[in-house]
Each structure stands twice: as C-alpha cells, then as structure tokens.
C-alpha cells in the first residue's frame, strides 16, 4: 500500500508498523505531528492498544518510554531539539542501563530556527551517549528506518537516536508501507540489577557500553542506509552528504554525481570508509544540515593532504539550513537564470490572533507598567512570546521553557522591581512549577502571570497537562491564596485586570495572576466539529 505522508507521519506509521506499544512526547515544532498521527490512528483503530497521551515534558516522556522498554515493549519518545536538553538526564543514562524492548528517541532539529531559539545539532547527543544515530534522507527512508531501528535497538540492547530536520519532518512524499508486526509481549527485566545505577553497577555497565563500540562502528560501516562506491581512479574532489543534504547534492546533478560520494544516514561516522575515500580524493566537501558535526570529526580522522571543506572553511554557510541553491553555489555551479529579487516585498512576521486572550494580558501589562519605568518582564515559550513584537513589545527576555519565573526571581533577588513573569499554562506545567516552589520558599517579590488558554496553542492546540488544576497546583506549592487571582482576559474587563495587576505588583511578596480564556483557535475548531455533528 502507498500513502502520501509527511516525514513526521512516515516516522509514526513506521513505528506503528514495527509493533509500537507506546509513544511519549511533549509537543514541539517540528516533531508534533508524529504523536498526533499515532493519536489519529488509535482513534480509528481502538482495538490497537498503543499509549499515545501527551506528557508533561520531555523528561517525563523519556522516562516513561524507558519504563515501557524495561517492561519489554517497543516505545517511542519524540521531541524537538531543545526538548532533548530537558530529557538529557534520562537519555544519557538510558545508554548505561541499556534497553529491554526496543527504544527509539526521535529528535527533530530545526536548522534556520523556523520555530526555535537555537539550532543545536542532536547528533552530538548521540555521540555523547555512545549509541547509534540514524538520520533519514527521505520519507521512505524515515519509514523503513523505524523497523530497522527497533531491531537494532533490541539486538544491541541500547536505545537508538533518530535525528530528523524540519525540512523532512514537514515535507510530504509517497511512502510504500510494509506488513504490520505484532507488539512485543510483556516481559519485564528480571533477575539482573543492570538498571540500578549505583556506582558499582554503573561502572560495569559503562565498561560494557565501551566494549560494544567496535560493534556499533561495524554496523555503521555496513549500514544499508550508508552508501559509498569505491572508484578505481583518483578524483579532484569527493563529497560526504548526510541525511537531507544528500538530496540537495543529487538535485545539483540530475545526470548523476560525477565524483565519489559517501551518503551518511547512520552514525557513528564510518571512519574506515572515509579513510578509503580520502585515498581517492584530493579534497572532500562535507554537506550536512545543522552544525559541522561530521566535518569536525573528519578533519580529525584524515591525513592533512586531503583537504576538508564545508561549513567550517566557509564554502558552505556556518549558520542556517541548506537548500539546493546553497549547495550549488558551494560546488561552483551556476544557478538557473532567474528574476531579480522583488522590490515591493516586506517581511510579514507572525502575530497573536485577533481576539486572542493573550492580547488583553499584554495590553494590561503595558498600561500598568507605564507607571513603573524600571519594570522588567520575563517571558516564556509559546504563542505569547509574540508579545515581544509590535504592537506590544512587552518582553525583556525569552530563553527556555519555564525561565520566566526563575529569571524574574533572580532579577528580584538582585533588586529589580517590579519583576513580572509571564508564562503559558502548558509551559508552566512543563517546567514552571519547580521554579515557583523556589520563589514561594523565599516569598520573592515577583508577580507571575500564568496566561491560561486551556491548550498548548503554538504547536496547534494539543491538550495541556494542567487544565482545571492551576489554582490547586499553586495552592499546593504554597502560594498565598490572598495573592492568587483569576481574571478573564477580555477587553471589557481591562479595568479589573489592570487593578489586579497593580495591586499584586505593589504587594511585597509572591503573587500569581491567572488570566483564563480558551484559545480562539481551539474554540473555533470545537464549534466547527459540533456543527458538523448536527
């Protein structure tokens, strides 16, 4: 059977067809559609028991997936690249425990930062944890890799990291599907203490991980997803192209690439193959989306008489995602004739929707803070980050999930007044609650706004883990009920909202204000679904 699938959907279908028992994830562009596809599949096939509910953050997702693997079943954990920083503790240690049922850690990188705050390259995490990394170059390969990766994971008894990028995650192609494999039976780890990472056991487990490295390297050299054709004659240049970048290189030569090419879609980098290649080429161009992960290593492997060129030497740009035009220019090929750049075009940045509750929150913040010229507003990650742009321009910082509360606290510790934090409902449960406890324990003089739209808005309206629980959570953590206020962010309530904000700023202790109104996008979607039912 053939299906037109996004890269993300091909990954999801591949996991389902490989006998998946559970997906664990927190939404994050460009990885969100993987879990959404599995949720849609489970709705249509209720007899298929696959866990698919969203998690509170990437760390809880990673740990739950590891627990499912411990029980002997195949698990998938998905996240965007910065989510890996949150999941890093269990991720790195999962290579020490090893796995029981197959475990794939799927991370979607975002070169060019289309929807992110950095372009960190997840392949470094794979090297750090000393496990195999896969990087598909097409939707079909993404699909095929899932069953391969589960088999690999179960044969090595290690998690497998799969890295994709925005361009593949969000591009559709026709994918040929295979027969569906049954799920593993329940078969928890028993009789060994490998998973109890006390130092004595961890030392033994780490030694075993190191012992398996030559085997992991051999699997890379022999991988069906890596390809290299050795040539008899010598060439001026060769190329190493990783994942998606291989497509751009192929696009430049419709008649076939006229020099040796090593395509890498499985890591660690196959060093023997690269040494062979260097014997045949005067120079090697390394073409990879993301950071110069391969380029740095290759420069270390090869003798100096083979010149390595790429992002580090400037032939390819150090920053941003690749495209066929960039690769063409690096190869010294002329572009097709094309029109001049347009004159009458300006940027059209995204904005908060008309009618969105966050708008009333920012309007209130700007009205009140006009009277406090030293005020600083610490923002967070979500739709409301757009409050940094015109017309509001209300934010002084946005760093990572949850940083609004903790940075406001640190700034208040240093003497900033007023220090205001603004965080969304889903971001608060993701990583804001622990910071709130720090602030409560010192009764820090900060005002925290949890702008609750009852959903995870920016990624398209997924369920939010704390919906209907925020007052209880805040009280449970120890927020003074007299300084825990709820308002409805509508223009007609502006007087009440600004008065509340002013009072809580003036209070010399910790306050939480919860403006609560449903996201207009999810509201409209529900209304449409209801109308369709009638």
């Amino acid at each position: 059977m053939k299906k037109l699938l996004l890269g993300d959907e091909a990954i999801a279908q591949g996991a389902i067809d490989a006998g998946l028992s559970g997906v664990y994830a927190y939404p994050g562009t460009p990885s969100t559609e993987i879990t959404e596809y599995i949720q849609g599949y489970c709705k249509k096939n209720p007899d298929q028991k696959i866990h698919n509910r969203w998690c509170t953050n990437e760390k809880t997702a990673m740990e739950a997936a590891l627990g499912m693997s411990f029980a002997g079943k195949r698990a998938l954990v998905c996240m965007k690249h910065v989510g890996m920083n949150v999941a890093a503790d269990p991720f790195v240690n999962s290579s020490i425990t090893g796995v029981n049922g197959g475990l794939i850690v799927l991370v979607a990188d975002d070169p060019s930062m289309h929807s992110s705050q950095d372009e960190q390259d997840t392949r470094y995490y794979g090297k750090f944890a000393l496990i195999p990394v896969l990087e598909p170059s097409s939707q079909q390969e993404a699909y095929d890799m899932m069953s391969y990766a589960y088999d690999l994971s179960e044969s090595l008894k290690l998690p497998v990291l799969m890295r994709t990028v925005t361009r593949l995650a969000h591009s559709r192609a026709v994918v040929a599907l295979k027969e569906k494999r049954e799920q593993n039976a329940l078969n928890p780890v028993s009789g060994v203490r490998d998973w109890v990472l006390l130092p004595a056991i961890a030392k033994r487990r780490y030694a075993s991980l190191l012992e398996r490295q030559p085997e992991i390297m051999r699997l890379s050299v022999e991988s069906p997803f890596n390809s290299f054709k050795a040539q008899a004659k010598r060439f001026k240049m060769g190329a190493i192209a990783c994942g998606n970048a291989y497509n751009y290189l192929s696009e430049c030569y419709p008649e076939g690439i006229p020099f040796p090419v090593l395509k890498i879609s499985q890591y660690p980098i196959p060093s023997e193959t690269i040494r062979t290649m260097a014997e045949q080429c005067d120079s090697i161009m390394v073409i990879e989306d993301g950071q110069p992960f391969v380029e740095e290593q290759v420069a270390g492997i090869l003798p100096t008489d083979c010149k390595i060129i790429g992002r580090l030497t400037g032939e390819l740009p150090r920053q941003g995602e690749l495209n066929p035009d960039i690769v063409k220019a690096a190869l010294g090929l002329a572009p097709l004739p094309h029109p001049q750049v347009a004159k009458n075009v300006v940027a059209r940045p995204p904005a908060l929707c008309q009618g969105c509750g966050h708008r009333s929150v920012y309007e209130a913040i700007n009205i009140v803070l006009k009277d406090y010229k030293d005020a600083k507003v610490f923002g967070d990650i979500g739709c409301y980050t757009l409050g940094a742009l015109p017309p509001f321009q209300a934010l002084d910082s946005t760093v990572d999930m949850g940083a609004s509360i903790t940075m406001a606290k640190g700034a208040a510790d240093a003497g900033v007044f007023p220090a205001v934090a603004i965080i969304g409902d889903s971001t608060f449960t993701h990583s804001g609650m622990t910071g709130l406890l720090d602030a409560v324990n010192e009764n820090s003089p900060i005002t925290i706004i949890i702008s609750d739209n009852l959903t995870t808005g920016m990624t398209g309206g997924q369920d939010s883990a704390g919906t209907n629980k925020f007052e209880a959570i805040c009280r449970g953590i120890g927020v003074d009920p007299d300084h825990l206020k709820v308002v409805v962010p509508l223009p007609q309530n502006m007087e009440e909202i600004t008065r509340t904000l002013r009072e809580e700023i003036e209070y010399q202790g910790l306050s939480v204000i919860i403006p609560r109104r449903e996201c207009i996008q999810t509201l409209a979607r529900k209304a449409k679904a209801k109308a369709a039912q009638k």
């Binding site: 053939k2 037109l4 996004l6 562009t29 460009p30 969100t32 559609e33 289309h114 929807s115 361009r167 593949l168 969000h170 591009s171 559709r172 192609a173 026709v174 998606n244 497509n247 751009y248 192929s250 696009e251 495209n323 066929p324 035009d325 063409k328 572009p335 097709l336 004739p337 094309h338 029109p339 001049q340 750049v341 347009a342 004159k343 009458n344 075009v345 300006v346 940027a347 059209r348 940045p349 995204p350 904005a351 908060l352 929707c353 739709c383 757009l386 015109p390 920016m458 990624t459 398209g460």
Partner: protein
Amino acid sequence: MKTDIILAGVGGQGILSIATVIGQAALEEDLYIKQAEVHGMSQRGGDVQSNLRISDQPIASDLISLGQADIIIAMEPMEALRYKQYLSKDGWVITSSNPFVNIGNYPDQNAIIAELKELGNVILIDTDELGKENKMPKAVNMILLGAASKALKSISFDKLCQSVRTIFGAKGDAIVDMNIKALEIGRDCK
C-alpha cells in the same frame, strides 16, 4: 515530465488545500510527489509557502531552486512577488489581486501589481469580486487552482475535479459542486 509549483499566502488562508487537491490527483496518476510545508510559528498570520513538486521521475530535493518554478499560485499579490526569484523563464504566476493587509508597512499596491506584470505570464484575479458574485467566498483557493490548471501540464483538469470529489466527498454534494464550479470559474479567467 516535472512540474514545480510554489504556493504562497498568509497563515490561515488555506494554501495547503490547493496542495492537497494537486497531491491527491498526482497520487492517483502514480506520479512522484514532494511537498514541503510550513508548520509552526509562521502559521499565526505570517507569510507561509509550500513547495510542491510532481514528476514521473524520482525527485531529489524537497525544495525548489531559483529559476525553477513552473507555477507560482498565491492567495495575495505581495506573497506572489516574494517568490519572484524562483520563477522559471517561461513560468506562470497566478495570484489573487486582493491584498491581505495585516502589517503597517504593506507596500504600495499599484507598485506590487506593476512589478508582477513585468514577469510576463501573469494571471491576476479579483477573487473578492468573483467570490462575491458567485456566492463562494470560501472557494478562492479553488478559483486560483482552476486558473493554474492550464499551466499544470502533468495533471488534466478532469483529474483535478476528480480529486475535489475524493477530498470533499465526505462534506456532501453541495460542497463538492461549489468547489468544482470554482475550478471552472478559475479556468475561464484570463
């Protein structure tokens, strides 16, 4: 035969339904397809585009190169112009002439239209007027696709109609008929 299409608009205008209709038709014709989309932050009222490539041969890149696009279909004129550099020598631009103004510094509309007309093969459609006249304000994207059908050489007009029937079938005959009529209205635009 290969056809490279850039679909352009503003987040929420519905460019992806155009891609879905072409994609479904291409799938039924057993053609190769690559369709890169924009998801995420830009969908909140920012500029969005989709690179749609269909061919009877395997396609390497998900992205279209400069000077390679056979067709640009745009929901509004400045977004059509944004991808001007990607247009091939004999390429076509099919765009609504009605601007979507959600920014303060939107350029002079006459200057945009004049620059578009310099490109040669351009079909500008007053979709607001046509939509109102034919009582189909929500089928603007299908009017534009109908107008693009002449340049869309690898897929016949009948196949596009068939694809509309497949995709909108579940929503009832009235919706199917309206979208097919929109395709026909577009096809007859000059």
